[in-house]
């Protein structure tokens, strides 16, 4: 059976010596240090990936609703492309293929490629939500904007998007939790994230005491992002609509 020895978290990863303090002892790198470090990687990849996904996803989502067939088609193609290929395959494309085809990418660290991969992968999903959000608005809003003499960009900026973005916050929240979970595939390109930490520091006999805290950290991370998004949702709520108090 798996053995339990929580002292492990206070021992150095290389020398197997017990450090004077479990966290941040000078000259030691305990398992706890490594886990916190790995959590940092998971969170930074998730947050940066989410940022990329929000920017690219909103842009593509908007393009898909624009009254110009070519532009809309580009948006559709983007969405289908990034939605129909598994994330791990997309990651390998960024990591193994792109640097071979575009040599400037060879000097880019793998974590940046990971952020690009997970960001664009998620952008397709966000674009889907943004498009749906814009399309649920009554058509009259668009016409009203144009009748007032607003240009198309102005109509989007001042009439459509302020409402559409508020509508899409709940689905985007769940997407932001997914990004934390999806970031676990980073292990496949040797980024020292939580999953990689779990894989490297667990032996057959003691994997439970590594896997349990790691799983809990994923739990907590997804929960934190969920709470933050809920706070934003409450903050930007327009009184009188969409379940506002």
């Amino acid at each position: 059976m798996p053995s339990w020895d929580w002292q492990l978290y206070c021992t150095d990863m290389v020398t197997e010596e017990v450090a004077p303090s479990c966290f941040g002892a000078k000259g030691y790198e305990t398992y706890l240090d490594a886990m916190v470090h790995a959590w940092g990687w998971t969170m930074s990849i998730s947050v940066l990936g989410l940022l990329v996904a929000l920017i690219a996803g909103s842009l593509i989502g908007i393009l898909r609703t624009v009254p110009n067939r070519k532009v809309a088609l580009f948006g559709e193609a983007w969405t289908e492309l990034f939605r129909n290929i598994p994330l791990i395959v997309q990651l390998f494309i960024w990591y193994h293929v792109m640097p071979q085809l575009f040599s400037p990418l060879q000097s880019v660290p793998s974590s940046v490629l990971m952020v690009a991969a997970i960001g664009l992968f998620t952008s397709a999903r966000i674009a889907e939500q943004v498009k749906a959000g814009i399309l649920t608005l009554p058509k009259g809003q668009r016409y009203a904007g144009q009748a007032l003499g607003l240009t198309l960009p102005q109509t989007y900026r001042h009439v459509l998007l302020p409402m559409a973005f508020r509508i899409v916050i709940p689905p985007v929240t769940s997407e932001s939790m997914n990004i934390v979970k999806n970031s676990a595939v980073a292990f496949a390109v040797s980024i020292p994230d939580l999953t990689q930490f779990a894989l490297q520091s667990s032996e057959q006999s003691s994997f439970v005491q590594i896997f349990l805290p790691v799983t809990l950290l994923y739990f907590i991370s997804a929960y934190i992002i969920n709470r933050v998004a809920k706070l934003i949702e409450v903050y930007v709520r327009v009184p009188g609509i969409l379940g506002a108090k």
């Binding site: 193994h96 293929v97 085809l101 939790m177 676990a184 999953t195 994923y218």
Partner: protein
């Protein structure tokens, strides 16, 4: 800048390395879908049963698995299974067997959420009508509610299956021989990793895109009937 050269990817190479992996990916998807829908429907019925002792375990099961990365679940099962089955005298699971068990258990949680929405989409009057006809719970569920729930949710269930098909590529974590692995091995043998990664992306895209087009058509058809 590397020159791309796909000429080594002949039918013989595909048959030798890829077909086995593709077959496994499809097998895994279909079996996890069937098992997942079965178990998921059961979980959904438990959650809607109104009995605490059924509701609570099902809710905990679904919510827990849904908030853990799939990769972690795959690794958990892969490492735990030998301990769990050692007592029974079974040993040495192939990663493929582990993958099958994991995906059924994991995807059931997603299918259960869909089925829960499906069951709730059937008007309450249908249930009352069933009971008024003298049917018991099993008959009402099996003959009245579930058939309608299935039909209402068919497009969503199939969309989830496309997601499942994409997720099967994560068996990479335990080294099972799936579609991705098949191309990867071919790429290693011919020293052409760039081409094979592109090729596997194209294969996944073609399969998933055509399936999602089919689902979209089905959705339109069902919408008209309703």
């Amino acid at each position: 800048m590397t020159q791309l050269d796909f000429s080594f990817l002949t039918w013989d190479v595909l048959r030798a390395f890829v077909s086995k992996g593709l077959l496994f990916s499809i097998q895994l998807t279909v079996m996890a879908m069937l098992g997942g829908i079965l178990l998921g429907t059961l979980l959904a019925m438990m959650r809607l049963s109104g009995r605490k002792w059924l509701e609570v375990p099902a809710t905990i099961y679904v919510d827990t698995l849904r908030s853990i990365p799939l990769v972690m679940v795959i690794l958990w099962v892969y490492l735990l299974l030998p301990f769990a089955t050692a007592a029974l005298g079974w040993n040495n699971f192939a990663p493929e067997t582990t993958a099958l068990i994991t995906f059924t258990l994991f995807e059931a949680t997603y299918y259960s959420e869909i089925m829960r929405a499906g069951i709730q989409s059937v008007p309450k009057g249908q249930v009352f009508a069933g009971y008024a006809m003298g049917m018991n719970y099993r008959q009402t569920m099996g003959l009245v509610v579930l058939p309608q729930a299935f039909r209402n949710m068919l497009p969503v269930l199939l969309t989830q299956t496309i997601v499942l098909f994409q997720d099967t590529s994560l068996v990479y974590a335990i080294g099972a021989y799936d579609l991705l692995k098949g191309f990867e091995v071919a790429g290693k043998n011919y020293n052409r990793p760039v081409e094979t990664y592109l090729a596997v992306a194209v294969v996944y895209f073609v399969i998933c895109f055509s399936l999602s087009m089919l689902v979209r058509r089905l959705q339109k058809k069902i919408a008209i009937i309703r």
